[in-house]
């Protein structure tokens, strides 16, 4: 059941994005976790659900299932490829159990970690299959939205097709951009306008930018402006480069600083706002408050 995600965005609502589940889960558990994120989640279901509930309470409208590492290539690097279906399904189910009525469970197709030929060895067919095998258990678990994030826009095009071929759920696709001497570019060298238009043309319902080295102060606003098109836009920069200081993770960009940017992002056309690496519950609270202030919500 879609529960009006796209309708809400088209009606001018601004929704708040979840934070980095791996960092938040590790902080919750209070020790360094070894191995793969999905392994942590399925072995620590109560802690995972606690963090998920905390993110909703902080104002996130979307539940992160933590499935971004469940592509076959990533799992293969850990020798865990055979857990793909079981873990993806479980992660979605755990998230769904604690998701309120007006929030959305997000199936996250993360970067594959491989390149399309001729730069890499993967064919379009290989990648299509790798997305499909994640989409199936996500659908079975009952996700509300399918989201993909990649360094190569052309891989996102394949992911969008894989999603579209299997369901009618909202498709949200995010490019990663990096600041260069030639403006913001994807790792493959494509500029923001072209990379974003490509996603829209390929059938994405929501077009996004995030992670990658876009600073929330300044960069993010510039990127949103360049992304402008017909589709709802999302922006999810890192909260600065998170540092490990005395064993604690410290974000150079504080919650208030990030929140101060939110009205600008909204004015520039963003409908989904949040932060990626370095984003804490405090950041999410501040971002959520900023959205409410702009949109006049209670």
């Amino acid at each position: 059941m879609v529960k009006g995600f796209l309708e809400r965005l088209r009606n001018g609502e601004v929704l708040v994005i979840y934070g980095p589940i791996h960092t938040l889960l590790e902080q919750e558990v209070g020790r360094n976790l070894e191995g793969h994120l999905s392994e942590w989640i399925v072995n620590l279901p109560r802690e995972f659900q606690k963090v998920t509930k905390a993110m909703y309470a902080a104002g996130s409208d979307i539940g992160a299932t933590g499935t971004q590492g469940n592509g076959r290539y990533r799992l293969r690097a850990f020798g865990l490829e055979d857990r793909l279906y079981e873990w993806t399904l479980k992660q979605v189910q755990l998230t769904k159990e604690v998701t309120p009525e007006n929030c959305y469970v997000l199936g996250h197709l993360g970067p594959t970690g491989v390149f399309l030929e001729p730069v890499g060895d993967a064919t379009a067919d290989d990648l299509y299959k790798s997305y499909v095998e994640q989409i199936i258990p996500m659908l079975e678990g009952g996700v509300d939205i399918l989201y993909c994030s990649e360094n190569d826009t052309e891989q996102l095009v394949i992911a969008i097709k894989a999603i579209r071929d299997h369901c009618d759920l909202p498709v949200w696709a995010q490019n990663l951009f990096y600041p260069t001497k030639k403006g913001f570019r994807t790792m493959m060298g494509v500029n923001v306008k072209t990379a974003s238009a490509r996603l829209a043309e390929a059938g994405a319902d929501v077009v996004g930018a995030g992670c990658g080295g876009i600073s929330p102060i300044g960069d993010a606003l510039a990127v949103v402006k360049e992304m402008r098109g017909d589709k709802p836009l999302s922006i999810k920069p890192d909260a600065g480069l998170a540092q490990l200081v005395d064993g604690k993770i410290v974000q150079p960009v504080f919650p208030e600083e990030m929140a101060a940017e939110v009205p600008k992002w909204i004015a520039a056309g963003a409908s989904l706002v949040g932060g990626c690496c370095g984003t804490s519950l405090e950041h999410i609270k501040a971002i959520s408050a900023a959205v409410k202030a702009v949109k006049g919500k209670k």
Partner: protein, 212 residues
């Protein structure tokens, strides 16, 4: 344009088959393998490295050029081994730390280091401390570690400490990189060097080994 210049040009354009062909042509012309390597392949790759640093080209071009370099190297390698004359600038072992499978940055560093004449051993991803130590014991002069997550960058310190414990501190240098990593972090864990990108990594590697 002479053959070596043609090799460099085709390498810059990512033309692997042409570079392979021209490498053989150069050898047939009597140019010695070391010369073909230094003034053909490495010369071309150095230009690509500079262009990449200036964001005139991006990752795909660098990778295609690296493949072209590998194609030329495949022809030269047996001859270089036979003559024993060519010495690499140094041996660098690269790996992404335990729990982390991000590889693009590490791979790029490997490409530009090779392109600059270093011998590179790519250990891969999700590499435990012991494997880094073994690489050092097997002759790596620099251990390069990459991490992308705050949850995995914590695995860099144990490697620095393990190398120290194995009596390799000072003899084997450590270098770290990755989006999440900074100079301050490198200093705090006792790493010998940090580089924010592949281009700087070459300069830092040279500095650590005292090479001009």
């Amino acid at each position: 344009m002479d053959t070596l210049q043609a090799i460099a040009k085709n390498l810059k354009e990512g033309q692997a088959a042409k570079v392979k062909e021209l490498t053989q042509v150069a050898l047939d012309e009597g140019i010695n393998p070391e010369d073909v390597l230094d003034n053909g392949l490495i010369a071309g790759m150095t230009v690509v490295g500079k262009l990449f640093k200036e964001n005139e080209v991006f990752l795909p071009e660098v990778i295609m050029s690296a493949k072209a370099m590998d194609a030329g190297m495949a022809v030269l390698e047996p001859l270089l081994l036979k003559s024993g004359k060519h010495e690499s600038k140094g041996k660098v072992a690269l790996g992404t730390v335990q729990g982390d499978v991000h590889s693009i940055g590490k791979n790029l560093v490997g490409i530009v280091l090779k392109g600059a004449g270093f011998e590179v051993v790519d250990l891969g991803v999700n590499i435990p401390t012991q494997k880094f130590v073994e690489a050092a014991q097997n002759g790596a002069q620099i251990i390069g570690m990459s991490a992308l997550l705050t949850t995995t960058m914590q695995h860099m310190q144990p490697v620095v400490d393990a190398l120290d414990k194995a009596g390799l501190k000072g003899r084997v240098k450590t270098m770290i990189g990755g989006c999440i990593v900074t100079q301050e972090y490198a200093d705090s864990i006792g790493a010998d060097g940090y580089a924010p990108d592949a281009g700087s990594a070459v300069d830092k590697a040279k500095e650590l080994l005292g090479i001009v």
